[in-house]
């Protein structure tokens, strides 16, 4: 996609202007209405707190980011493998798929303590929670991609006596790549949520302290300004992962671009 600088400004200007307006309004409201900083810190307070605790904040971003990225990679690998199994056996798919969908509705916050009971405090439990939260969009999207193939293409492969393996490698898998990218993008956002939820329960030991821990830790200490810093950092982390997966996906989908641009 080649946009001229003029077009880029045209696209970026309105949201940036809105952001600036919001920050200014926020600062004015806090100052004029004399809101207590532990209830709502001003943007200047938040920036000051972030700079003051920058060491802690950066190491927290690093911890959470590591868990989220590792969890996402495991989800993509595990989800794709599961979807491949589903695509190869109707009986396996019929048996397991309803549960794969139903499991998405299990409130992970409710079972995270159980995971800590089983696997202990620490990084491994944080990653596990991340995987559980981000796995299902990969499974469902890739399974759909692998199984909903145009009937004409199926006929074409059957007419040419394609083997099961040829059908998988030359038809199903390439057809499913756009769905894999869609699933991975959804999973990227969820992975950050998963890592933070995981850290609520399993990330309190000194070497594991990520954004999730500091979100919890700042509340009783009335460090609302630092809490805001953590939330903004977590948001940026999620956006960065989403953008990274989208760019990787666009690269992978170079040949599909006609279809992808409509997504």
């Amino acid at each position: 996609m080649n946009r001229s600088p003029g077009q880029l400004i045209f696209i970026l200007l309105p949201p940036l202007a809105l952001l600036l307006l919001t920050v200014v309004a926020w600062q004015l409201a806090v100052t004029l209405l004399e809101i207590k900083p532990y209830l709502l810190p001003s943007p200047v307070d938040v920036v000051e707190a972030a700079i003051e605790h920058r060491g802690t904040l950066f190491s927290a971003i690093w911890m959470t980011g590591r868990a989220a990225v590792l969890g996402l990679l495991i989800s993509i690998l595990l989800g794709t493998t599961t979807a491949l199994l589903f695509s190869q056996s109707r009986i396996v798919r019929r048996s397991f798929y309803p549960y794969a969908i139903a499991l998405q509705t299990v409130p992970i916050v409710a079972i995270a303590p159980l995971i800590v009971t089983w696997f202990g405090e620490g990084f491994q439990s944080v990653v596990l929670v991340t995987v559980i939260i981000s796995l299902f969009p990969v499974i469902t999207n890739v399974t759909t991609g692998l199984t909903s193939i145009d009937e004409g293409l199926h006929d074409l492969f059957q007419l040419n006596q394609a083997s099961r393996w040829q059908r998988l490698v030359k038809l199903r898998i390439p057809s499913a790549i756009p769905s894999l990218v869609t699933g991975a993008r959804t999973a990227a956002g969820l992975a950050v949520v998963g890592a933070i939820v995981g850290e609520f329960f399993a990330g309190s030991s000194v070497q594991d302290r990520g954004l999730g821990y500091f979100v919890l830790f700042t509340v009783p200490n009335l460090q609302t300004d630092l809490l805001f810093g953590c939330v903004i950092a977590a948001t940026l982390l999620g956006v960065a992962m989403f953008v990274a997966v989208s760019l990787a996906g666009r690269h992978l989908l170079g040949r599909w671009t006609a279809e992808m641009e409509t997504h």
Binding site: D155, L159, P174, I177, R255
Partner: protein
């Protein structure tokens, strides 16, 4: 292989009637509680004959082609498609209603797919695909383009090339040009005829366009629906090679009118 060798291989070494199609009272229904899609259908196509099957949408024309191709099995009756003497099935090329190209493959890689699936060496796949490219009126530089970069007419040409790349004994076409504008459809009809005049495959061409059926074929079968069966047939006497000018001929117009009238009676 030289042309001479190919001719003798087709003429003597293999069964003389490879590509002959004979259907006796065939029928198919997809579920017991629904009316049969086809019932009591008879069809005879000689080796190297170009026939058109004409009928309204939904009368089972596509199903008939899928039966001939072996993609479906008839639930009643006998269907014979004569293959090679050594027991090999007749080679069948199928052109679908949509181009059904793989979007992640360029034109050449789409065309050579049938050979690739059969395990031919890559070099011979590429050579065959390159030859077919020109036969269907595409330029060598089109080979590296991707389907999304092509017009509808060019996609259909690629689809036709893919069906021809295995040098089929039988070519089945399922309303292949229905989505194209009239000019393009006529051009592709002429190109298809030229290919058949040179290679004399057995061709079954399904369409709902009367003038197209008459222009292309030696024999037009009229199909009724629910259940689908062939109820009438019309010989098309015009000699080959046929030129575009045939469409302006008074005899041609009369025959198109006659077939249209019979088709209306079939539907009524």
């Amino acid at each position: 292989m030289t042309d001479l060798a190919r001719t003798s291989a087709k003429g003597t070494a293999s069964s003389p009637a490879v590509g002959m199609i004979s259907a006796r009272q065939i029928g198919i229904s997809f579920s017991p509680d629904q009316p049969a899609v086809l019932e009591g259908l008879d069809l005879d196509v000689r080796q190297g004959e170009f026939v058109a099957v004409l009928g309204s949408s939904g009368c089972g024309k596509s199903t008939l082609l899928k039966l001939i191709a072996g993609l479906l099995d008839p639930t009643q009756g006998e269907l014979e498609v004569v293959g090679q003497d050594d027991g090999r099935r007749a080679e069948i090329g199928f052109v679908f209603q949509d181009p059904t190209l793989l979007p992640w493959r360029n034109v050449i890689d789409n065309i050579r797919l049938p050979l690739e699936l059969r395990g031919f060496p890559v070099a011979s796949q590429l050579e065959a695909a390159g030859q077919i490219l020109e036969m269907v009126g595409l330029q060598p530089e089109d080979g590296v383009k991707y389907p999304r970069m092509l017009s509808g007419g060019m996609r259909m040409r690629v689809s036709l090339a893919r069906a021809l790349v295995t040098k089929p004994d039988i070519l089945l076409l399922d309303e292949p040009f229905a989505a194209l504008d009239d000019m393009l459809r006529q051009q592709l009809n002429e190109d298809l005829l030229a290919i058949w005049e040179e290679h004399s495959q057995t061709i079954v061409f399904v369409t709902h366009n009367v003038s197209e059926a008459v222009f292309l074929s030696q024999q037009v079968f009229l199909m009724q629906s629910t259940p689908g069966r062939l109820v009438d047939q019309v010989q098309v006497p015009f000699p080959f090679p046929r030129q575009a000018a045939l469409r302006g001929d008074a005899e041609f117009a009369r025959l198109v009118e006659d077939v249209s009238r019979r088709l209306r009676e079939t539907v009524a």
